[in-house]
């Protein structure tokens, strides 16, 4: 009697293990991972370059456009999914800008998951490098999936300059923010650019920023044609501040956990912003 129960037990155990194994086997080789910090990327790479091309061609010659601004989506996959659905429900959004911290631990998996969610957007998007994105091999993964950490693009007549400002991550040993990049970029600006928007992860005077050059940074930004506003993330809470007493506002996006989007609408003469809860 006891032997039969034992046999039954073993058989059911065996069967359950086999079914578990086959279920995993069928789900494919993305379950084979050499290391959480390896650079063996699954899926799409070079996102920013492709999306910049889409933004620039769609908005060429225009002086009115609208974009949604989000930041700090790390380890909030549920909220990021909801944000993407909410953005897709909005009318007349031309692109989305994400000012960094896609990952919490710098894991390759986190970048891949965030990319998969953001790829569901109906409009093109660009992602900046956040301080968490620099952990371990995070910056290398970011470069492969998204692209360079300093980049620019044209949205109609408006120039967007996106900069890595996470100086603390590099122990202040690298040119962050890269003033030479800014100067070079400004010298090569096409004549059609009449306005500028700057985007970064950590705003001046946060602990990540190289605050000794905060004034110089702002001075360089002001040399761009008609600097409209600056976008930043990092603090996880919404704020609109004039950091340098020069009429340039710094908009800081809340983390995605706060379930609030910022939408900016640019018209030929001015811009407006609104917060959208989702």
């Amino acid at each position: 009697m006891r032997k039969i129960t034992g046999k039954k037990f073993y058989t059911s155990l065996f069967m359950s293990c086999i079914s578990l194994f086959s279920a995993c086997w069928l789900s494919g080789c993305e379950m084979i991972e050499y290391h959480p910090y390896d650079l063996d990327i699954d899926g799409e790479t070079g996102i920013n370059a492709k999306n910049i091309e889409r933004i620039e061609s769609a908005l060429q010659g225009k002086d009115s456009f609208s974009f949604v601004f989000i930041s700090d989506t790390q380890r909030w996959y549920d909220e990021t999914e909801d944000a993407v659905a909410a953005i897709n429900r909005l009318d007349s959004v031309d692109f989305v800008i994400h000012t960094g911290d896609l990952s919490d631990f710098g894991l390759k998996l986190e970048f891949e998951l965030q990319r998969n969610i953001l790829n569901k957007l109906n409009v093109p998007y660009v992602c900046l490098l956040g301080n968490h994105d620099c952990l371990a091999t995070g910056q290398d993964v970011y470069r492969l999936i998204f692209g360079d950490e300093n980049f620019t693009f044209e949205a109609g007549n408006t120039h967007f300059v996106c900069l890595n400002t996470n100086a603390l991550e590099f122990d202040y040993t690298e040119a962050i923010p890269d003033l030479a990049f800014m100067e070079n970029d400004r010298n090569q600006l096409p004549g059609s650019c009449t306005r500028t928007v700057a985007a970064m992860h950590a705003a001046p005077y946060t602990e990540q920023f190289n605050n000794n050059i905060a004034l110089v940074f702002q001075h360089y930004l002001k040399t761009y044609p008609s600097l409209q506003l600056c976008l930043a993330g990092h603090t996880h809470s919404l704020s609109v501040e004039e950091l340098f007493d020069d009429d340039v506002l710094y908009y800081t996006a809340p983390s995605i956990k706060k379930r609030t989007l910022l939408r900016f609408t640019f018209t030929p003469d001015t811009y407006q912003y609104e917060t959208i809860a989702f």
Binding site: F14, C24, M31, F105, G106, L109, L135, D171
Partner: protein, 222 residues
């Protein structure tokens, strides 16, 4: 962050369990009572011989590099416990440069089903391992440039839990006692934390599969 700390401590304390059971049962001289299915018996090395590794292992993937090799020791009346030390590598193709990994692994194999004199199945086993990776951009604790508690986790040490199955083939060989093929399904603590707080993540996002071979060394003395 509290949750993260708790998980880490729990995972680090778990390997202590087998050590507490190591002392009493394996020291007693009585043989385990015969069972219908389970034919495993421990080899009973004495004195310094106990330091002799009882097996070597090869493992593919599972967060310890492209592959890892190592030595291990089994203990317990029916060799239910196994401890391994593995060295793995990540070639430059999958990382910024060639990297070594070091893994300490603890397994518990409660059952074995012997079909005939050659084949035996270990239908379920489980355990945990901690793997570290060489390189100064990976740290155990955040470097001094950060304010205290800025990141609160380690990029260098990665604890994993796993379950697996194993098939043994017994040989009549003077050096190799048996060869076992195994596979394991594992996940690390950061993946589990991510899944726990996000219903939109699927199990296949956080589960990882790996394969391996264990070669049991040395023939029985008797």
């Amino acid at each position: 962050m509290k949750q993260l700390l708790f998980n880490l401590i729990a995972l680090l304390l778990l390997p202590l369990l087998p050590i507490t059971t190591l002392g009493s049962p394996s020291d007693s001289t009585s043989l385990p009572s015969p069972r219908k299915w389970d034919k495993r018996v421990h080899q009973r090395y004495e004195g310094w011989e106990r330091l002799r590794p009882t097996h070597v292992k090869f493992q593919y993937a599972g967060g310890m590099g492209v592959s890892a090799v190592g030595i291990g020791w089994d203990y317990g009346k029916r060799r239910q416990w196994e401890s391994d030390f593995l060295v793995g590598f990540l070639p430059g193709k999958y990382a910024d440069k060639f990297r070594l990994t070091f893994t300490v692994k603890q397994s518990y194999i409660p059952w074995s089903m012997s079909f005939d004199k050659h084949w035996a199945l270990e239908p379920f086993y489980c355990g945990l391992y901690v793997t570290t990776i060489a390189g100064e951009e990976f740290w155990k604790k955040e470097p001094g440039r950060y304010p205290n508690g800025y990141y609160n986790f380690s990029t260098k040490m990665r604890p994993y839990i796993f379950i697996g199955q194993r098939m043994n083939f017994n040989l009549k060989n003077s050096i190799v006692k048996h060869v076992a093929m195994f596979y394991e399904i594992s996940s690390c603590e950061l993946y589990i934390i991510s899944k726990a707080t996000n219903s939109s993540l699927k199990m296949k996002d956080i589960l990882r599969i790996s394969f391996g071979v264990k070669v049991q060394l040395f023939k029985d003395n008797d």
